[in-house]
């Protein structure tokens, strides 16, 4: 015999090799070591260490080949596709970056669209018994407006319906509005919803701070009052409770702030709730008599007797 393999290398290999391979690999290495040591013991030791290092880095693995599984070919195909995809991505980093960017854009766009669809179409309005809230429209005569199924409502028609309708507990007329806000910093264009008497009772939401409009405030004499959205209150009044009772200049006229709506009232899926301000319609008698101008919307709450 010609000496022995480096003991430390043998110990390392014994530790690293799986039990099923240990005997055969160590035996092979020792056998070849002796053959080489007959020529040069130093060269044999160097060779043994090289083999040890290579075996430490990548020892023989058991079960490296997995025969194709039967019965779940779909899963096997998906897994092998995934493995191939990962290998391709690793080999081409710039392609991988492009793939990740495209996936991120796709997922982001999908999420954004779903968020809108969820908020607008799928999630019920956060209003009391929202399934009993109805939008009411005017149906125009088809002879004059062929193909047009729905019209906005005129004030005179609305007041007729309000007087005669039996299916609804209450009805309210409203429309969008735009004011120029002045008096503090730079003039600012602000959207508002002008609402008729009963609007907040019908939607079933009270003010978070202060109050909603009274019936008397839906008149020209007392209609210069305003309710703020939660967002407007925070952005323009720093969420100060002292905002109630203060005044705002809208289109050059003074409006007293009487309330602030809760944040949950603002809902993108219904424009009447989504504006920063609400003011009373405060129609004059002349406004109420207009029948031919259809510029208003109507919300109503079904009576308990109706289904």
């Amino acid at each position: 015999m010609t000496g022995a393999p480096p003991r430390f290398a043998v110990a390392l290999l014994s530790w690293r090799l799986a039990p099923e391979w240990r005997e055969f690999v160590l035996g092979d290495l020792e056998e070849e070591f002796h053959a080489r040591a007959a020529l040069s013991i130093a060269a044999a030791r160097r060779w043994f260490w090289r083999q040890t290092i290579r075996s430490l880095a990548r020892p023989p693995r058991a079960r490296t080949y997995q025969p194709p599984a039967r019965g779940d070919a779909g899963v096997v195909t998906i897994l092998s596709d995934l493995r191939l995809a990962l290998r391709v991505l690793r080999r081409a980093p710039s392609f991988a970056v492009a793939v990740v960017a495209i996936l991120a854009l796709g997922i982001g766009a999908n999420t954004a669209i779903f968020s809108i669809v969820n908020a607008v179409l799928m999630r019920p309005l956060p209003l009391r018994d929202s399934e009993r809230l109805m939008r009411v429209f005017h149906t125009p005569p088809q002879s004059a407006f062929p193909g047009i199924k729905l019209f906005a409502v005129s004030p005179a028609n609305f007041y007729d319906w309000q007087r005669d309708a039996r299916s609804f507990e209450r009805m309210a007329i409203y429309h969008g509005n735009r004011f120029t806000l002045t008096g503090s910093s730079a003039p600012e264009s602000v959207l508002a919803t002008s609402v008729g008497d009963g609007f907040f009772d019908i939607v079933g939401t009270g003010a978070a701070l202060g109050r909603v409009f009274t019936a008397e405030e839906d008149t020209p004499a007392r209609g210069h009052v305003v309710i703020l959205s939660d967002g407007f209150w925070k952005s323009h009044f720093g969420a100060s409770r002292d905002a109630i009772g203060r005044t705002m200049m809208l289109d050059g006229e003074s409006y007293a702030i009487v309330g602030v709506m809760p944040a949950s009232f603002t809902n993108a899926s219904w424009g009447a709730t989504a504006q920063p301000l609400w003011v009373p319609n405060a129609f004059t008698d002349k406004d109420r008599a207009v029948r031919d101008n259809h510029n208003d919307a109507v919300v109503a709450r079904l009576s308990r007797a109706s289904t």
């Binding site: 391979w21 005997e23 055969f24 690999v25 160590l26 035996g27 092979d28 290495l29 020792e30 056998e31 070849e32 002796h34 083999q51 290579r54 075996s55 990548r58 020892p59 023989p60 693995r61 058991a62 079960r63 490296t64 080949y65 997995q66 025969p67």
Partner: protein, 110 residues
């Protein structure tokens, strides 16, 4: 008859090494046979990994010999080529020979 397995480049070398060694094919001998014939100084772990894979594919069978003093009292693991392994290496050989046909002068030029 089953369709022969496709075998990779190193698997072909290992299968041919086992065939060349007849009944005396074990890890170290196969490693030396490949080194001597092809010039590739492969590691013993690469040889065993491939032997194991070929056995899993059903192309090789193995058995364990007796302990020897030369191996520090350890046993050898011997391999032999099964019919499926012979079919696989034959297919690889015939394909390579067919593809190389007519190119001998170019391929064997020093």
């Amino acid at each position: 008859m089953d369709i022969p397995h496709n075998v990779g480049d190193f698997e072909q070398l290992v299968l041919l090494g086992v065939l060349q060694l007849g009944g005396d094919a074990y890890g170290a001998a196969i490693r030396q046979e490949i080194h001597a014939r092809s010039g590739r100084d492969v590691s013993i772990n690469a040889v065993y990994t491939t032997l194991d894979r070929l056995e899993q594919k059903g192309l090789l069978s193995s058995w364990v010999g007796e302990p020897t003093a030369q191996r520090g009292g350890r046993r050898r693991k011997f391999y032999e080529v099964r019919p499926a392994g012979l079919a696989a290496i034959r297919q690889a050989y015939l394909a390579l020979r067919a593809m190389a046909n007519g190119l001998e002068r170019k391929l064997e030029a020093k």
